[in-house]
Amino acid sequence: MADGGINLNDFDLAKLNESDKAELRQFFANEGQKARIQTTVHNLTDMCFRKCVTGTIRSGKLDKSEEGCMANCADRFIDVSQLTVKHLQNLRQS
């Protein structure tokens, strides 16, 4: 979240006590992780919708084959991204 966002200088952070500071740090870590997951889901959906929903739109629901395709597509994309990392690690070791 780069722009249009929140400027922490707008808050009176000096008022925070240590335990609230710790809680906020945890909150930021959690929200950051959630945001990363959501960004990945957006990207995967974008990619996989293009691959899986190819016909004319006839209903608002995913049909069975589209549903299976979306799940497979997401899973296989994770497979290949892991493969890339593994391959690069092998290259570095040899």
């Binding site: 609230d20 959906t45 929903v53 979306m70 597509c73 997401a74």
Partner: protein, 81 residues
């Protein structure tokens, strides 16, 4: 509430709102992109009934697809961590 607690609550509230807005913005952008492409192949002088029906269904479909990917991905993360 003490002032530390109220500053904390305000930070949390604003950050959550900001994330929700960003998430919605991205979803709207993607739905428009995909469904305009699918449902309005040849833009006419106005949006026809069939185009707008298609668009609504496409939007619902895209959101189902998003949920499907989300549960697949989250399940995978849980299995592999």
């Amino acid at each position: 509430m003490d002032s530390s607690g109220s500053v904390k609550a305000e930070v949390i509230k604003q950050v959550k709102t900001q994330y929700a807005v960003e998430n919605a913005r991205l979803l709207v952008e993607k739905v428009n992109e995909h469904c305009f492409e699918k449902c309005v192949p040849k833009p006419g002088s106005s949006l026809s009934n069939s185009e707008s029906t298609c668009f609504t269904q496409c939007m619902e479909k895209y959101m189902s697809a998003w949920n499907q990917v989300s549960s697949t991905y989250v399940e995978r993360l849980r299995r592999e961590q």
